[in-house]
Amino acid sequence: MKIINIISLAIVALLCAGVVLAAEEKQGAAQPYDENTYGPAAPIIWEKPVKAVVFSHKTHTMGAGLGCDSCHGGLFEQESGAAEKKPDFTMDKIYKGGYCGACHDGQTAFAAKTRCAACHIGARGLKRLRQAESDRTAPAASH
């Protein structure tokens, strides 16, 4: 009796694993990330005025369903690093509805005054991203 129980349990477990694996594969294959539709895959990183803030196109376009002109039509220039050079790229301006604050007002998206570390990855996060980047782009020296 016991042996039969164990065998049936094992079969059920295997079946479950198969289903989960198949589902995961499907998810990955169904939605490829298209840079022409959704914007650059690499994260945008700002280091001024404070170290460091990360912006992911994927989260905002593919995730939240925004189009390019939602932001690139007054709020942000298309050229990367343009906002960083402007003197008013500050939290104060954002609280008043500028830049990210246009949506991050507590109504459309979470308020810019809350969840600071959702975008601010800090000096530690920056170091980690840079490390990951250099690991990816470096020629396969470890092989």
Partner: protein
């Protein structure tokens, strides 16, 4: 010997002890055990003067020092820009291999399978019962009687590093150049003793995370922050019993 008289005396064996009497004795024993083990490690009876009862903030008016220098860290506002670290380095000539203050990072899982990052600034807690001072064999480190700052005199330090081991907050490092332990002194040497009113890290913080001041002054911001209704104030590693003077809150 009058056997009859003896037989009429009340029995002195265990059966004659009332349960009330037994409990009293047991309680005495447990109290003594608790006291012997430091009172904080194991006390099986309720300790009447437990310091944790009112939270980590000392009761108003019961500050051992004046000014009672304190730092309040509004943790959720910290974004790890590390301007405080840079300011500390230049102000106090901290080498690259050590720190007087740093930012730690941890993750907290959120409901939707995501997580949030929490940045935690740390520095010397200038404890009221500093374990580092207690272990120093040469009195190179001490608790300043006026300000409560845990001071350090490098010329007295023999570099035994016992204080580094004793510190529950990892707030000390060995400075090779001085051949002595170095640590945060709330900028006493670099700033406060020269008339400045705040530390370099607090002055450099763009997010208003680090608030420095005198807890003994009810008008100070640190006092106000630690006595705001409906907020939680915590300290790091309270179980050590060092009674730190660096407080954390999200008020």
């Amino acid at each position: 010997m009058d056997i009859g008289k003896l037989q009429r005396l009340p029995s002195e064996d265990l059966s004659a002890i009332t349960s009330r009497e037994r409990r009293k004795f047991l309680r005495l024993g447990l109290t003594i055990t608790g006291l012997y083990l430091g009172g904080t490690v194991l006390s099986l009876v309720s300790a009447r003067r437990a310091e944790a009862a009112g939270g980590p903030v000392p009761a108003t008016g019961q500050y051992p020092y004046n000014p009672h220098y304190t730092m309040v860290l509004r943790e959720a506002r910290c974004v790890d820009c590390e301007r405080c670290k840079e300011a500390c380095k230049t102000t106090n000539h901290v080498p690259d291999y050590g720190y007087r203050t740093t930012i730690l990072e941890r993750r907290r899982d959120l409901a939707e399978g995501t997580y949030e990052t929490i940045f935690m600034p740390v520095l010397c807690n200038h404890c009221n019962r500093p374990p580092c001072v207690r272990v120093c064999p040469t009195t190179a480190t001490w608790k300043d009687k006026k300000t409560g700052i845990v001071m350090m005199k490098p010329s007295r330090c023999i570099g035994c590093k016992t204080c580094m081991t004793a510190c529950p907050y990892n707030a000390r490092y060995f400075q090779e150049e001085k051949r002595a332990i170095d640590k945060c002194d709330f900028c006493w040497q670099a700033r406060l003793s020269k008339g400045e009113t705040t530390t370099a890290c607090a002055a450099a913080c763009p997010a208003d995370v680090r608030i420095f001041g005198n807890l003994a002054d009810p008008k100070s911001r640190v006092y106000q922050l630690l006595h705001t209704p409906d907020t939680i104030v915590w300290v790091l590693r309270p179980e050590v019993g060092a009674l730190p003077n660096v407080f954390y809150t999200n008020a």
